[in-house]
Amino acid sequence: MKIPFEKLDKAFENRVRLQIMSVLVVNERYDFNSLKELLDVTDGNLASHLKGLEKEEYVKVNKTFLGRKPNTSYEATEKGKTAFKAHLDALEALIKQQRTN
């Protein structure tokens, strides 16, 4: 039987992107620094993956000021949430199939 790899979302091929998305689906919003600390990645690495997700319109950026300090936070869009869920379903289907094979 053919394994439906094509159902896996290319945007989530990278682990960090998938991790970013899993944080954003359970939290209304998450700021850059907390995300960095949680995922234990570098500034540049995180920024580039966030850019990637932004380009897919999976996440939305909110720039606010906390006093004088700029504060960048991210939230998942509806499109992003749907894509994430579909990706998880695909992962689940893959596991099930490998069990029956």
């Binding site: 790899f5 682990r15 998938l18 991790q19 899993s22 944080v23 689906v25 359970v26 939290n27 998450y30 700021d31 907390s34 600390e37 949680l38 995922l39 998880l88 992962l91 689940e92 893959l94 596991i95 490998q98 069990r99």
Partner: protein, 212 residues
């Protein structure tokens, strides 16, 4: 992709979802210790009330007494005991949470803990202010009931951001607070039960479920 890879992927997602949205670094031991402090405080309050230097106890069966009948020096002593219990509990909770957070690789001051604190603070501040108003208006019999109920509400609202067990503790505190309102005059005993015994039980549950 290997099956093991898939499983790792899913496990990491599940772990992140929990770690990012729930503060899972509350220590069970700190709950037990807070309960013990509260019981010590209750004993101290009991001694002050019935054997203290400035004791001319109120008539406890009355839930409302006139302000001029207040024994202020006794009230100050009781407030100091309460503040000491609160401070000791907070300090212990903070230190032990810090230790556990390091082990769990969760930031002590992150999104989850901020949400937890904010959701607790709103009912706590409201209840605390109401308790002060009751004290100033002479309704001392309701203070223990109010603190228990609002503390319970704070726990229930905070429970979305940490272990689910916190919710049951909150519900029990609310129930106890309602009983306390129904039988005024036994505030100290309800306090000892709610802040002492219930915390020790809750702390033990958390300790055995998540800490070991």
């Amino acid at each position: 992709m290997e099956e093991q890879n898939l499983h790792d992927e899913l496990a990491s997602i599940r772990n992140l979802m929990e770690r990012s949205s729930k503060f899972i670094s509350l220590s069970g031991l700190s709950g037990i210790l807070a309960g013990i402090y509260a019981l010590i405080g209750a004993v101290a309050a009991f001694l002050l009330l019935y054997y203290g230097s400035c004791s001319s106890p109120f008539i406890y069966a009355n839930s409302t007494i006139a302000l001029q009948d207040y024994n202020w020096s006794l009230i100050y002593e009781l407030l100091i005991v309460a503040a000491a219990v609160l401070m000791a509990s907070l300090a212990t909770g903070l230190i032990l949470a810090q230790r556990k957070a390091k082990r769990k690789n969760q930031p002590i001051w992150g999104e989850a803990s901020k949400q937890l604190l904010f959701n607790m603070a709103v009912p706590l501040v409201a209840g605390g202010l109401l308790a002060v108003v009751m004290l100033l208006k002479g309704h001392i019999g309701f203070i223990s009931s109010i603190t228990l109920i609002f503390y319970g509400v704070a726990l229930v609202s905070a429970s979305n951001f940490t272990y689910k067990d916190v919710r049951y503790l909150g519900l029990l505190e609310i129930l106890l607070g309602l009983f306390a309102a129904y039988v005024p005059g036994f505030g100290l005993y309800f306090w000892a039960l709610g802040f002492g015994v219930l915390h020790i039980i809750y702390g033990s549950v958390v300790y055995f479920k998540y800490d070991r």
